[in-house]
């Protein structure tokens, strides 16, 4: 039971970490859009959000749902690859 709880906690923590990382990434993209004076639009199915730089003639970058899914999967894959690699290669210090 204790082991199951520990695994569940680890998985939840891993998911929260990915959520925080993705939220931070979106915030960073908005900052970049402001700095580079571009319009940013994110379309996730029926949900959409847009940032306008205020320049009427600025380029428009549109990110679609698959890009968000790919970003989450890529982040999770990098995290789990690093954790698995370290877990398997870990040796106690001599």
């Amino acid at each position: 039971m204790r082991r199951k709880r520990a695994i569940l906690s680890a998985v939840l923590l891993a998911l929260v970490t990915i959520a925080v990382a993705e939220a931070a990434l979106v915030a960073l993209l908005v900052v970049f859009s402001y700095v580079l004076k571009i319009d940013l639009s994110v379309e996730l199915g029926s949900f959409g959000a847009a940032y306008a730089s205020g320049q009427e003639s600025g380029p428009l970058v549109k990110l679609y749902g698959p890009a968000a899914v790919a970003a989450v999967l890529f982040t999770a894959a990098c995290g789990f690859a690093g954790a698995t690699w370290t877990f398997r290669r870990w040796r106690p210090a001599r």
Partner: protein, 164 residues
């Protein structure tokens, strides 16, 4: 402007930042060492860096904590790679005058509609100057992000070297 030295007591309080196992073993002798030195910013910084190194050693000594740290490291690397990809996307698409679409088969990931040329510009800068400034800004961001990625990738090795 003279920076007043820290009082001995607050400096010694920094020892509480060290891991519990470390404190149980070395706290008394470390407190004596801190008492021998004049309390100052340098000692405080040394203690803070030492606390970081002590935690790094404690994490490295535990298999699960090491794996969790590696997980966070991997997430940071992925974060920076995606930010680099975004700036790269903008940089590449601005070289083209037609809309750029990034897709694999029917799956569309992103599209960039370039600057619309109305024949006049809202600001007073000439078009060539504007594009050079924007390009420099994008390149600067790209260099900054790549430098951050190199720093993050090297950090683990530096930490390992610092704790052994």
């Amino acid at each position: 402007m003279d920076i007043p030295p820290l009082a001995p007591r607050p400096v010694k309080r920094l020892l509480r930042l060290y891991p519990r196992a470390w404190r149980e073993r070395y706290s008394a002798e470390m407190a004596a060492v801190v008492d021998d030195f004049p309390a100052g910013i340098g000692v405080a910084v040394d203690l803070l860096v030492g606390a970081g190194a002590a935690y790094a050693a404690a994490i490295r000594a535990n298999r699960v904590l090491s794996s969790a740290a590696a997980y966070l490291h991997g997430v940071c690397v992925a974060f920076l790679l995606q930010a680099i990809a975004f700036v790269g996307l903008v940089l590449i698409s601005e070289q083209s005058h037609s809309p750029t679409v990034f897709e694999i088969g029917p799956i569309r990931f992103a599209s960039v509609t370039p600057l619309i040329d109305f024949g006049f510009y809202l600001d007073l800068r000439a078009p060539a100057v504007r594009s050079v400034i924007d390009l420099l800004l994008e390149l600067a961001l790209l260099v900054l992000l790549i430098a951050s990625l190199v720093l993050v990738l090297r950090a683990r090795r530096w930490l390992r070297a610092g704790t052994t």
